[in-house]
């Protein structure tokens, strides 16, 4: 929904000139009328009507994740909630990390590396180190997008390890910045309307990386383990502290239902939601503010081993008040999903069964049968709700919006 304002421009002697593109992403329509019928007393005054519609200023979301950019399942679920499939920009660099759909654009913060692979080798810094990233450029460009201007964003090519020529990004409705440092710089943090941190515990990370890399010839169990261990100090020093700034944290831990489980097939996932965030009402189970422990499997619902266990309660996280919803176990059947969904509240769904529908739509994505998929989908719906609230707010104050 664009906010348009129309006003007349009267010029006495010169004809109406067309305004060239101001480069601010504004679409302008000029109606030219000339006053020819009689009454030319005032020296041929012509009036032009100028209607200018400004592109909506986007809602900016930040996602901190270690699993690569724009490729993660979370992003695909998020863009699917908004509708439309996200794909890399057409006709551009094939190694671009950007994902564009009708409503959403996801950019990878690796594009703001100030040092390419060789540079980092020379300096002796990993990609996790803030010294390898250009936070000034990141701040400038996110600010520009937030104001509704198009940006020329650099591209970091993960295959060659070089910085490629920039690509043009138009401001979308929802702008997601995904990467290792979305909340590291304070200025960028202030621009975010909502921020999420994906916290994977070490055991689960190990299991996932093995699944990802064991098929490769060059890798072995030892190399994968060494790789994780070597990155850990930088990760703990620079990336982990961003947890405290996130509005929502999805924590993935090994299950407690199966003793000594190291396969990592069943997961325990916690959704930690900060209280008091604008336009965000945390999801709860049964009764907001109380502590609940819930096993849905029983007489009404039969689950297979190891079953499902839920917990909900208020807590403190790095000094903030939070509400935590936790799920341990895996979904086996459709009716388990819908049963669970019908008992969760404040999901921001538009119809009954929307969460289940979204989960089924992407049943082939990893995590579709456990808390990772469930909470990622729920966060996606929450972001949609946040977006609609912000837009409604802006529409409620058109004078303010038209000023910009």
């Amino acid at each position: 929904m664009a906010i348009c304002s129309a006003h007349t421009i009267t010029s006495l002697h010169s004809p109406c000139t067309t305004f060239t593109n101001t480069g601010f992403g504004q679409k302008q329509v000029i109606f030219f009328t000339s006053n020819r019928k009689g009454g030319r007393r005032h020296g041929g005054a012509r009036s032009c009507f100028q209607v200018s519609c400004s592109v909506d200023k986007p809602v900016v979301i930040g996602l901190a994740a270690d699993s690569g950019c724009g490729k993660s399942t979370f992003m695909r679920r998020l863009t699917s909630v908004f509708g439309g499939a996200a794909s890399p920009p057409k006709g551009g660099n094939p190694d671009s990390n950007t994902l564009i759909s009708d409503t959403t654009t996801v950019i990878c913060l690796d594009d703001y590396h100030s040092l390419d692979r060789n540079g980092r080798k020379e300096e002796g810094v990993t990609a996790l180190d803030p010294r390898a990233n250009n936070f000034d450029l990141m701040y400038e460009q996110v600010k520009a997008i937030k104001e509704g201007k198009a940006i020329e964003k650099p591209i970091y090519n993960h295959v060659t390890g070089l910085l490629d020529p920039p690509e043009l990004i138009q401001p979308p409705k929802i702008f997601v910045i995904e990467g290792l440092h979305p909340m590291f710089d304070e200025r960028v943090r202030d621009l975010l309307d909502f921020s999420i941190y994906l916290d994977i515990s070490d055991d689960v990370k190990f299991a996932w990386k093995i699944q990802r890399d064991m098929a490769e010839r060059g890798h072995s169990l030892e190399s994968i383990k060494a790789s994780i261990e070597a990155r850990k100090p930088d990760f703990d020093a620079f990336i982990d502290p961003q947890k405290q700034y996130a509005d929502a944290v999805i924590e993935v831990l090994p299950t407690q239902l199966i003793p000594d489980d190291n396969e990592g097939k069943v997961l325990r996932v916690k959704l930690i939601q900060k209280e008091g965030v604008k336009n965000f009402d945390p999801v709860y189970l049964f009764d907001e503010g109380s502590s609940i422990s819930w096993v849905p499997c029983g007489r009404k619902l039969t689950c297979s081993y190891p079953g499902i266990k839920f917990a909900y309660g208020p807590d403190t996280y790095y000094g903030h008040e939070v509400s935590v919803v936790e799920m341990d176990g895996a979904f086996d059947r459709l009716d388990e999903l819908i049963y669970v969904e019908s008992h969760l509240s404040n999901l921001s769904t538009k119809f009954y069964g929307e969460v289940t529908q979204q989960m089924l739509k992407h049943a082939d994505f990893p995590g579709s049968n456990n808390g990772t998929g469930l909470f990622q989908t729920i966060i996606g719906l929450k972001i949609r709700d946040l977006y609609e609230q912000i837009i409604a707010e802006r529409a409620g104050t058109p004078a303010e919006a038209a000023k910009v």
Binding site: V204, A207, D213, E216, A230, P233
Partner: protein
């Protein structure tokens, strides 16, 4: 351009190759593959092998070779100097390239069989995409 998938029977140990099952259940067995049991678990896995462009196959091979090289490099640099920054940077490079390979694998797995499909989705007016109805 006939790009139909051909089914080939492939013997595989515990984990299937990424091209087939890139989006399967994420956390899987952590058993070391050199374990005795792995040999007993060798089973026939029917894998649908997609046809690839020469360039794609070359890119895949180049990335795989790059991973091998980087891992060897990292092992060498870290030999004895585990805590040094050189070691950390080397393993970070390995991680970066592994991520790139995983991304490529997934992209290929999700690619439509007909390369004309995505082209026509964006250029319905192109000559190659014209649909002609013949009334006989």
């Amino acid at each position: 351009m006939a790009s139909s998938s051909i089914v080939s029977l492939v013997y595989a140990t515990a984990l299937p190759a990424g091209a087939v099952n890139g989006a399967g259940q994420p956390p899987s067995s952590v058993r070391p593959w050199c374990h005795d049991r792995a040999r007993r678990q060798q089973r026939l896995v029917a894998a649908a092998v997609k046809r690839r462009y020469k360039g794609t196959a070359r890119k895949e091979a180049a990335l795989a070779e790059l991973i091998e090289r980087k891992v060897a490099e990292a092992m060498e640099v870290c030999d004895g100097h585990e805590k040094e920054e050189g070691c950390r940077v080397a393993w970070d490079e390995v991680e970066e390239v592994s991520q790139a390979k995983a991304h490529l694998r997934r992209r290929l797995a999700e690619a439509p069989d007909d390369p004309l499909e995505p082209f026509c989705a964006h250029n319905p007016d192109a000559e190659d995409c014209a649909v002609v109805y013949v009334d006989d």
